[in-house]
Amino acid sequence: MARAEITALLNPRLAVRKRIGTVAYVIFIAAILIGLAGLASLLLRVLWQGAPWLSLHFLTDYPSRFAEQAGMKSAIFGTVWIMGLTGLFTVPVGVGAAVYLEEYAPKNWFTRIVEVNISNLAGVPSIVYGLLGLAVFVQILALGRTVVAGALTMSLLVMPIVIIASREAIRAVPSTYREASYGLGATKFQTVKDVVLPHALPGIMTGTILAMSRAIGEAAPMIAISALVFLTFIPTDPLDEFTVMPVQIYNWVRDPRPEFHGLAAAGIIVLLAVLLSMNAVAIYIRNRTQKRSEE
């Protein structure tokens, strides 16, 4: 028998199965292409519309009623303030909560309720957090419409993301590591501090990056806290008033004059650039710690 005949005998319907394989391959390629096409068309449109308005003065000037003179300095600084403080508030509390739930909490009905609620919180619409922040931080705690009130609100918004991601990362640390640590006489806290957290750090960083990426683009809760769109000073301490980039962009989008829509697109480009560079720094730190902890 010829070789081809033997192959056909050993693999019935080989041609059909191969064809199905090809079709599946094409479907998967199409899936990724659809996603990329959506992203690309969005980016191209924004770049096309916004690029002519990008310039150095756009970054260093305050808002103006003249499109050629308008910049987003106050919004950029406001966003940096909000992001910085949100990170400082969210990471210790979020990681702490994750450590408690994974390492300390007894597995009973109470912790299960807490877990379910944290997952649910991640899906609450952001404007709800804005109204909560307005009532609790701005009014009851009398912080006013300040940077710190905005950052606390944003922290509530992204806290569930940090907690969920940190728990996943902590759970992924093999239990043999913990047992080895106990075997050497380490206490529970020492084990958490020196074994679990260092190995979970890359996962925790990933969760934090995702959380901050969500926070930087949020307009709705920030409009509830501060609908300021003409601000010609930059915040110099946490009790100053502020505005953020998405709020500024939102205001330009709703302006009747088409040149301000170009400004809005330029603002989106700057927002994306800030977001990407923040992520790049975080990924760089993560990769370095990852290498260290694997040594």
Binding site: G84, V195, P198, F230, T232, P256, S293, E295
Partner: protein
């Protein structure tokens, strides 16, 4: 473990240091402008319609008094009054007069205020560019279309002689002062309107909706009509004295009615004691005529700005 910890610590310190340098190192040094340089912060919130005018004034004022921080927010007329009547803001932008309930809230909180008229807006009723049968609508027809419970969904039910064309409605959402004013003038009561229309707080969404829909009818501020003259067709309004188009002259002399609406700023009397607020309002009234016009609205007679100044003791 030690290298990791070290790295984490130094990473955190680097972040904090960079953040502090970035946030703190860029403080503006306001150049002193002689002996009468003022400082302080003026809080303004309210209507997105009046915002462009107040922003223009704030921007020009800053050139004269760079030490005064004028913060202008846009929470809408109602949202602005909520803050104004508890004394949170010094000035409130408003595209309608203050309501009785808002004035009561102010009184209950010990907030006394002055109303200053700064201009006039002509709410414009718009249809699609391809609509060749509507040039003018009467206030009664608008009321038949927009009153609560109205079931008119075809142009032929608006007026005998209009063709069989589906009617779709576009308008501002219920937070808007534009909505308040239109419903009061057309339906006789504030906030009373049929609800089955496309509502948006962003007037550009309404512009796009009407521009892409042959059977559309919608309304928004005059500035949005001016910027989109080529894409939309404006409808004249007949209030019993013939059809009148919204134009600067008809809005100013009041013949474009009933949709010419007054634009105001409200000032907290207590804030008026502060020199920076006095200076800002003096500047506002001295340049209001010019800047209101530049921002696409119709200024009021110069004597009104002078009267505002006199009432505030400026």
């Amino acid at each position: 473990m030690i290298p990791t910890r070290h790295l984490r610590l130094s990473g955190l310190m680097l972040f904090v240091a960079a953040f502090a340098a970035f946030a703190g190192g860029c403080g503006d040094s306001a150049p002193p402008t002689g002996s009468n340089a003022l400082s302080g912060t003026i809080q303004i919130d309210g209507s997105s319609t009046v915002f462009p005018v107040t922003q223009a004034v704030a921007e020009e004022f800053r050139k004269e008094q760079p030490g005064v921080q004028v913060n202008v927010a846009v929470s809408g007329t109602g949202g602005g009054f909520k803050r104004f009547t508890v004394g949170e803001t010094d000035i409130s932008n408003a595209s309608r007069p203050i309501k009785g309930s808002e004035a009561e809230a102010a009184a209950a909180n010990g907030v006394e205020f002055i109303e200053m008229r700064v201009g006039t807006d002509g709410l414009s009723v718009m249809v699609n560019n391809d609509n060749d049968f509507v040039d003018c609508l009467t206030v009664e027809e608008l009321n038949e279309i927009w009153k609560p419970g109205s079931t008119i969904n075809n142009w032929q039910d608006v007026r005998a002689g209009f063709p069989d064309q589906r009617l779709r409605l576009y308008g501002p959402d219920t937070d808007s002062g534009t909505f308040d004013y239109f419903t009061e003038e057309v339906n006789g009561e504030v906030q009373v309107s049929r609800a089955d229309y496309t509502a948006s707080g962003d007037d550009n969404v309404l512009v796009q909706g009407i521009a892409g829909d042959r059977g559309a009818l919608g309304y928004f501020g005059y500035a949005y009509y001016q910027e989109n003259k080529d894409n939309l067709k404006v409808v004249a309004i007949d209030d019993g004295d013939g059809c009148v188009l919204p134009e600067p002259s008809t809005i100013e002399d009041g013949s474009y009615k009933p949709l010419s609406r007054p634009l105001f700023i409200y000032v907290n009397r207590k804030s008026l004691e502060r020199p920076e607020v006095k200076a800002f309002l003096t500047f506002y009234m001295d340049h209001g005529y010019q800047l209101t016009g530049e921002e696409g609205y119709v200024p009021v007679d110069p004597s009104v700005y002078a009267a505002n100044k006199a009432e505030a003791g400026l």
